[in-house]
Symmetry: C2
Subunit: 206 residues, 2 copies
Amino acid sequence: MSTAPDSHPTDVRTRILLEATRLFAERGYNGTSIQMISQAAGIKRPTLVYHFGSKDSLREAVLGQLVKHWQAELPRLMAAASDGGPRLDSLMRALFQFFLEDRNRARLVLREMLDAPDSLTVELRRELQPWTQLLVDAMRTAQGQGVIRHDVDIESFLLLIITTSIGVLAIGDRTKALVPPEPGIDDQLMELIRIAKTSLFTPRES
Amino acid sequence: MSTAPDSHPTDVRTRILLEATRLFAERGYNGTSIQMISQAAGIKRPTLVYHFGSKDSLREAVLGQLVKHWQAELPRLMAAASDGGPRLDSLMRALFQFFLEDRNRARLVLREMLDAPDSLTVELRRELQPWTQLLVDAMRTAQGQGVIRHDVDIESFLLLIITTSIGVLAIGDRTKALVPPEPGIDDQLMELIRIAKTSLFTPRES
DNA sequence: CCTACCGATCGGTAGG
DNA sequence: CCTACCGATCGGTAGG
């Protein structure tokens, strides 16, 4: 009664969310039964249902986790970069780091985008768009100052960087079979950074 | 007996493949029952099984279609561009055109990459890699001639363009919710072309 | 948090 | 190309 009832790191609810994230990412929502998740979490199926109500609610909880992360991270990044304007570097680094930490996160996002549950678009727009709006504004200012090339379509550029980052991290080790020396994820990410910089910034004169 | 028994454009086998492609793309392999496909094709389930043996064989047939297209298209593109070196433009245009014709193709490819059935990597490597190898060689030559920037990682560059093109065409109308004016697919593709050109070619001196 | 149970749907087969 | 049928698994509920 005096100790928090379920604040352990190996909390049941947490364990369910962890395994659900992994399995949804690896096998997809439809390819994963709540039975598999329950077993991975070391409980019986009705216990999972007791905690989350339904498979679909569990899906929303899993997705909510990721959205929540960026809802906290984007403001942090914007603030940290406020001196000297937001830096492409730190943003891309944060993007890479988060999805590299657990590549299943990238796969999950991609799958959700493909399945397009109604909840997703709505939540993205409501929770994340306000922050990316700020980012777009900052970039537009940099463009006005001549730091960013005049021919850049800021909104599309941002979207493309995000799409590509997630794409590479989710399936980069599978697409590489297309091309002979089979460049690794790191090679692809480094080339992505080069491409982004080259096509975003006005070449320095001197 | 004198007329071909099933060469109609509305051939049963063709109709099954068509509906399977659409449904696998929209709902995923695991999210689509052979019952749904049969119904969409206007037949009963055992008839589908009679034609394709199993759900998994149908999956391979659906994927085989797409691989076959590029197996024919890549050599064609390489040959057409042989005078003056392969042109980035025609390649990207062909890529866009094929996947724009039916966006479900892009979604299907992305889903297969995520599901990573063993057959996929093997088939990509065996059927498509020989042709992309030629493309890489041609680009490397252009790089030696100074047409392509010296700092380009050719293999990663190619992979990134393909990943991004498919990504945009598959989920571009969903990711756009992230950014305020919500740029359309066409905006994103045009910006992708700009990014590719800017980051690939050595700036002309003049 | 569990045991026991539910109807519905799954992919596939038998047999014609 | 179909009807009739199969065991297995699905998500979820009753009740404790």
